[in-house]
Symmetry: D2
Subunit: 117 residues, 4 copies
């Protein structure tokens, strides 16, 4: 498998679910729950860490974090497949929206939300 | 831009942050918070929907959901870049771990967690 | 300790943190992260369950869920204490706001968001 | 209404849902989703703030945060009611568990998880 391919991951996840007869559980709502829970598990690693501590994560901690990153991406691809959404196209489109919402001249160096300007 | 390219998105997000002088806010911890919040915004669309209602989402609702999918992927790529993690490789590796944790012969048709078998 | 007392829990949590010298970690931001992670751990129990399965949770599963409910309340009280917010008063005030946002005559039997009417 | 009373909030939420015929939507799973989303909305206020900025929140921002605190407590009480769990008792019980998991002599000044000692 070409590890760089989104499309391969999408198909592998389909096969994974079919082999286990898990398609019945993979409703968009359930997958959205799972995605949110995985994102929280990723966040869990950072809750009590200072910026400095984040800069010196041990390799084993880094590996645990990479596993959570993997989980988030897997559920995002699976959910998108179920909804007929291409996550990369969605990301490219959203980045364009963000560029309009947050023009450089206006937001430089500020973290206000676009509704707060 | 090749919209299918993860690498292009990673570099576009770098430029996006640099132009706005937002790199100072993009610590891994802040980005992990943002990712988790975006995943929840995606989930928000499904909270009160039945399975049947999810099957007949309007195009405008589908578009809103795609925007949230885009946000989740953008923050996941940005966070991964900051941590030096390749999210696709992490996903492929995690899928292999999951295949070992959940062998077909054992879990077919069941949604128990691997710790519950 | 009077188990019904919010105030007692607030003070117990203060003592708990002080005794462990954990006050240094209990910034509002960190506590908001922890609260969000605990809410996700609570949600985790329900991801793959059908409504019918939720109706027949085993006592041991119910106990695990109650522990997560406890964690959410503990972090909510602790975060509120740090911010000088009374969570009960905030809940009563928000319930009044919700009553105005969602007048019975308008929303009866519908789960639309108030912005969608 | 006695604003300090958990029990009053529980009953008010019951009435609120009944009047709107919303009981049909208030399954434990849906409420657990809603709780998680509200906790994320609370976290959203803190994503990009430094510790110093959190110390000087404006009154209007503080009010927005208090509204989210209220939402989290409302959904926690409603979910607990549906599950037959008393959240205060759950919190008291969990605090005792935590005291055993994290004995002062062992954890003083450290934020490691109990599984990491």
């Amino acid at each position: 498998m070409n590890t760089d391919s989104f499309e391969d991951l999408r198909l592998s996840l389909r096969t994974f679910a079919e082999e286990r007869d898990w398609d019945q559980f993979h409703s968009p709502k359930n997958l959205a729950c799972a995605l949110s829970v995985e994102a929280a598990e990723l966040l869990e690693h950072f809750i009590w860490l200072s910026e400095a501590e984040v800069q010196r994560l041990t390799p084993s901690k880094k590996k645990e974090i990479a596993e959570e990153v993997g989980d988030v991406l897997l559920y995002l691809i699976r959910l998108s497949d179920k909804l007929g959404i291409d996550p990369r196209k969605a990301a490219v489109a959203k980045l364009k929206v963000n560029a309009r919402k947050y023009p450089v001249s206006r937001v430089k160096g500020s973290h206000k939300k676009y509704t707060e300007y």
